[in-house]
Symmetry: C2
Subunit: 318 residues, 2 copies
């Protein structure tokens, strides 16, 4: 079986590729390396069952050609920057919405029947119900990122109905672990490396969120692909626990042996469109027999260890 992975050089994408190759699949990876890293494909590149296509998802003809012969498409390529969405609204439109349209058109033209898509818990906006189930009340979007992922989900669902595809949609919490390249742990680690005596914290530190280790995430994705048979299958992916930003700061600074002064920007949100609480109801994926193996605390520590072991990645940040 041949699996096509967009965003193959990204954080989740490269971990998925390694697992797929380990499981014996042929893998074609597609990445424009805008945020992807060649280093993350070091192991994959040594496999004769891996082929890399260095191209953009906005290049429809390259995408169409690269996807030929695939049985399943994992579409992970995205602009994953939630926080700075309002600084460049077009990025979400192009890299998320239009990119997903291109992927679906290439799937259709190639006669492929299945797509698995990385969506986000951000599409719930600021829900009233916690843990938030997949079928919560029709949400109102609060971020351009969430809005773009919603647009992608809608497109996938309509293609499933209109063209007989199967669409698997994963709504992730924030993911942690090896090859983590952006998010609050990266920001805090990077900042403490610049100035160990001071840490600027967005919001009041009481934002309460769930996180998931990347290996647990990949486990869940592959399990769903194996077991889910419905036309449109939507799964929240997260842990049943949350931590406060302040918990995370305590774990990170203790692990690093630091005691920085904390400076809070204030307010209950880290930025415009930030959701103060993220906790997804994951009973649907748990019913398939999956459970996360890594706690949030352990995931955050592992992520810090990864960043410490890979200074090149931290130094590459402008």
């Amino acid at each position: 079986m041949r699996v096509f992975v967009t965003g193959c050089a990204g954080f989740i994408g490269s971990n998925l590729v390694d697992r797929l190759l380990g499981d014996g699949y042929d893998v074609v990876g597609y990445d424009n390396f805008s945020t992807g890293r060649q280093e993350f494909l070091a192991a994959a590149s040594r496999s004769p069952r891996f082929r890399l296509v260095r191209e953009d998802v906005l290049n429809s003809s390259a995408l169409l050609e690269a996807m030929a012969g695939a049985d399943l498409v994992f579409h992970l390529a995205a602009n994953a920057d939630v926080r700075h969405g309002t600084e460049h609204p077009r990025l979400d439109l192009e890299q998320n919405t239009i990119a997903t349209f291109n992927v679906l058109e290439a799937i259709r033209a190639n006669g492929i029947r299945r797509i698995a898509f990385a969506s986000t818990g951000s599409i719930y906006g600021e829900p009233d119900v916690f843990p938030t189930p997949e079928n919560v009340a029709f949400p109102v979007q609060t971020s351009l990122y969430g809005a773009a992922k919603l647009a992608c989900e809608g497109l996938i669902q309509a293609y499933c109905e209109g063209f007989g595809l199967q669409g698997i949609i994963f709504r992730f919490v924030s993911i942690l672990g090896e090859r983590y390249t952006h998010g609050h742990v990266f920001d805090f680690y990077w900042s403490l490396r610049q100035d160990p005596g001071r840490l600027r914290v967005l919001g009041d530190g009481h934002q309460r969120k769930s996180y998931l280790d990347v290996q647990d995430c990949v486990d869940a994705m592959l399990l769903v692909v194996e077991k889910a048979s419905g036309k449109v299958e939507i799964f929240n992916l997260g842990t049943d626990e949350t931590c406060e930003v302040n918990d995370s700061i305590r774990w990170i600074t203790q692990h690093l042996g630091l005691s920085p002064d904390l400076e809070y920007s204030g307010g209950v949100r880290g930025w415009v469109g930030d959701s103060p609480t993220i906790l997804l109801d994951c009973s649907r994926i748990r019913a398939l027999g999956w459970a996360p193996k890594v706690s949030i605390q352990e995931g955050i520590i592992r992520t810090v260890d990864f960043l410490q072991a890979n200074p090149w990645l931290v130094e590459s940040r402008a």
Copy 2:
């Protein structure tokens, strides 16, 4: 106050323009006349308070310039063809999703604070709950049209949060009345004009849907614009009654004095992505003091009368 109306030469748009002019507003209308009709602007064009810009919403710079000085934007321009979505998926992406992005960017660049948007009950897909309220369980899309309108709604909501706009979203049932240019009444009337002895019906004729007269629709839109003050205001617009396709056929043929043989294509849906039942919970708009004045039966008869009085429109169909 200056009001900007995209899709000003369309069915709903031109009726809205006439009402706005009658109410004393300055109106700038924008239309590419892909489906809009110069004839629908005959009255408006005689008003010194109306200015027409003949351009496409995909032309960002023309849109930006035309919108200058507006206080409120009604964004009605759209590809409104639900039924043939799978024949041209790019049309919904471009004319609905990207077009709405362009409108929002032009609003932002012009410092305008309010947008009112024509969405659709089709974004509920095939709901389990009737009448369907605005906050029904997170739906799954079944048409490219619905998916595109969902994308537009998400964009508008995210812009409201990110850039401090007010967004008013109307989820319409099918609209009937003067200047009606497409939909089942048009199709049936056109077909009976070709061959009064035979009528081909998509589905089994038992699809049960709600319809709303265009004047009732415009009344509701203007009332919401006047009264709703929340950041994101979403209103279903429809009647509390439904009719079967078979009811509609009976009313139309009796009114025309015809007794055609009916040939059903079969199945519970008229086409892929058609929702067999559409009935929206309109208690939210009714709580503002609005109620429709025209029944579905009356609306269908009036629509037939309009088509009979305007053979040029019916003849213009290829």
